[in-house]
C-alpha cells in the first residue's frame, strides 16, 4: 500500500508524540526515528530497529539520509535568513498557522501571515490544483 492513496495528517509534524500518522505508512516509526536522531537519544537503536522491521535495510538507510539532509538544510535556511518562496508563502499560510510553525523563533519577522492570507490559502490551493490538472492534460 502506498502512502499516496491517502490525505496526510499534517498535525503529526509538530505533535509531541504520534501513535500513527494518517496517510503515511509507517509514519509513527519514521517520526520516532527522526526524534531520536535529532535529540541524539539512547533510543536511536530501538527506533532504527523498528524502521528496519517495517521497511528493511534500504528503508533505514534512506530514512537516515533524509534526516541527515534536513539537519543540513535547516541550518542553511536559518543561518541565511531566506524568506519563504513566494507562492509557497501564500499557499501555506493557514497550514503554518494551524500546526504552530509561526510560533517558532525563526519565524520572527519572516513572512506575512494575516487572517486574510490564511483564509485565502485553501482557495488558492484549490485553484492551483485545478490549474495543474488542466496544464497536464
Amino acid at each position: 500500500m502506498s502512502s499516496r492513496d491517502n490525505d496526510v495528517d499534517l498535525e503529526a509534524i509538530t505533535r509531541a508524540a504520534s501513535d500513527e500518522v494518517a496517510g503515511v505508512q509507517y509514519g509513527a516509526e519514521l517520526i520516532a526515528y527522526a526524534d531520536a536522531v535529532v535529540a541524539r537519544s539512547p533510543d536511536v537503536a530501538k527506533t532504527r530497529d523498528a524502521v528496519q522491521k517495517s521497511m528493511g535495510d534500504d528503508g533505514v538507510v534512506d530514512a537516515a539520509g533524509v534526516i541527515a539532509n534536513f539537519q543540513r538544510m535547516v541550518r542553511i535556511a536559518d543561518g541565511t535568513g531566506i524568506p519563504i518562496d513566494g507562492p509557497l508563502d501564500i499557499l501555506s499560510a493557514d497550514i503554518r498557522h494551524e500546526i504552530g510553525i509561526n510560533n517558532f523563533s525563526s519565524a520572527k519577522g519572516r513572512g506575512k501571515n494575516g487572517a486574510l492570507r490564511r483564509l485565502a490559502a485553501p482557495l488558492m490551493r484549490r485553484f492551483m490544483g485545478r490549474l495543474v490538472r488542466l496544464r497536464s492534460r
Binding site: Y26, V61, M73, I82, P83, I84, S106
Partner: protein, 243 residues
C-alpha cells in the same frame, strides 16, 4: 579504486551515497573561497565541539542566546567571531537573526566568509547526522590540502531578501551558469550562492541523501514521497526551522 567510506556500516549503503559523502568530506579539507583547507578542517572539529559545548546547551535552554555568559568549549584556533558563528549555527540556528549576522560583520566576519561557514557547518551536521542515525563512528577529520582561498565573489550576488546577498534565479553569470541550470530554484538552494562552490556541494549531497530531483514525485524505491516529506518536515520542526 578507493574503498567505500562507509565500508563498515551494518547496512548496505548505496554507492552513490558513499561517493557523494566522500566527495563532500574531501571538499572540506580543500582551500575554499574564503578559508584555507586547514581552517575548514578546523571548523569540522569546532562543529563537533559545539555539539557538546556546555555554554551552547545552557544558551539553548535560556530565553535568549545572550542571557547566558561564558566561554565556548573550543577545538580550534579560529577567530573568536568564527567560533561564535559556528557554535550558534550548530546548536541554535533557529534563533539567529539579521542583527546577529550584522554583529558578526562588525566583529570582522564578512558575509562571504560567514556563508562559507554556513556551508561547512551544514555539511558536517548532515554527514555526522547520517553517522549518528546509523550509529557509525564519525569520519576522521578531513585531510588538509595546501593552498590559498580563491577569494572569488560572484558579481551577480545582490540583496534579494535574505540576510546575505544571493544570486537571483535568473541572474547567474557565465561562471555560475551551472548552479541553477533551468532547475526550479527554491530560496534554500540560492541561500549560499554568494559562495558558488557551497551550492555545488549542497546539490551533490542532496541527490544522494534526499531526492535527485525535487520535482520528481516518485522519489526513492524504499520511501515514497509522503514518507520522505514527513521526515523532512519533522526534522525541520524539531529544529524550529520556519522555512
Amino acid at each position: 579504486m578507493t574503498s567505500a567510506i562507509f565500508a563498515e556500516a551494518p547496512y548496505p549503503i548505496r554507492s552513490d551515497l558513499d561517493r557523494a559523502t566522500r566527495k563532500a568530506w574531501d571538499f572540506l579539507g580543500k582551500p575554499g573561497s574564503w578559508w584555507t583547507g586547514a581552517e575548514r578542517a578546523a571548523f569540522v572539529a569546532e562543529v563537533r565541539s559545539a555539539r557538546d559545548c556546555r555554554l551552547c546547551a545552557d544558551r539553548v535552554d535560556a530565553l535568549g542566546p545572550h542571557s547566558v555568559q561564558g566561554e565556548h568549549e573550543i577545538a580550534s584556533a579560529l577567530p573568536a567571531v568564527a567560533i561564535e558563528a559556528t557554535h550558534r549555527l550548530t546548536t541554535d540556528a533557529a534563533r539567529l537573526s539579521e542583527k546577529a549576522i550584522r554583529e558578526f560583520n562588525a566583529a570582522g566576519l564578512s558575509d562571504e566568509a560567514y556563508v562559507e561557514i554556513v556551508s561547512i557547518v551544514s555539511t558536517v551536521m548532515g554527514i555526522d547526522g547520517f553517522c549518528d542515525a546509523l550509529e557509525l563512528p564519525l569520519l576522521p577529520l578531513p585531510e588538509v590540502q595546501a593552498g590559498e582561498p580563491s577569494r572569488y565573489r560572484p558579481a551577480e550576488a545582490v540583496d534579494d531578501g535574505a540576510w546575505v546577498p544571493m544570486i537571483r534565479s535568473d541572474g547567474a553569470g557565465e561562471n555560475e551558469a551551472d548552479l541553477y541550470a533551468g532547475r526550479f530554484t527554491p530560496n534554500v538552494f540560492r541561500a549560499m550562492s554568494l559562495v558558488p562552490d557551497a551550492v555545488r556541494n549542497l546539490l551533490d549531497l542532496l541527490g544522494a541523501f534526499y531526492v535527485k530531483d525535487v520535482g520528481d514525485l516518485k522519489a526513492r524505491n524504499s520511501l515514497d514521497r509522503p514518507q520522505i516529506e514527513l521526515l523532512a518536515a519533522r526534522v525541520s520542526a524539531l529544529n524550529e526551522c520556519f522555512y
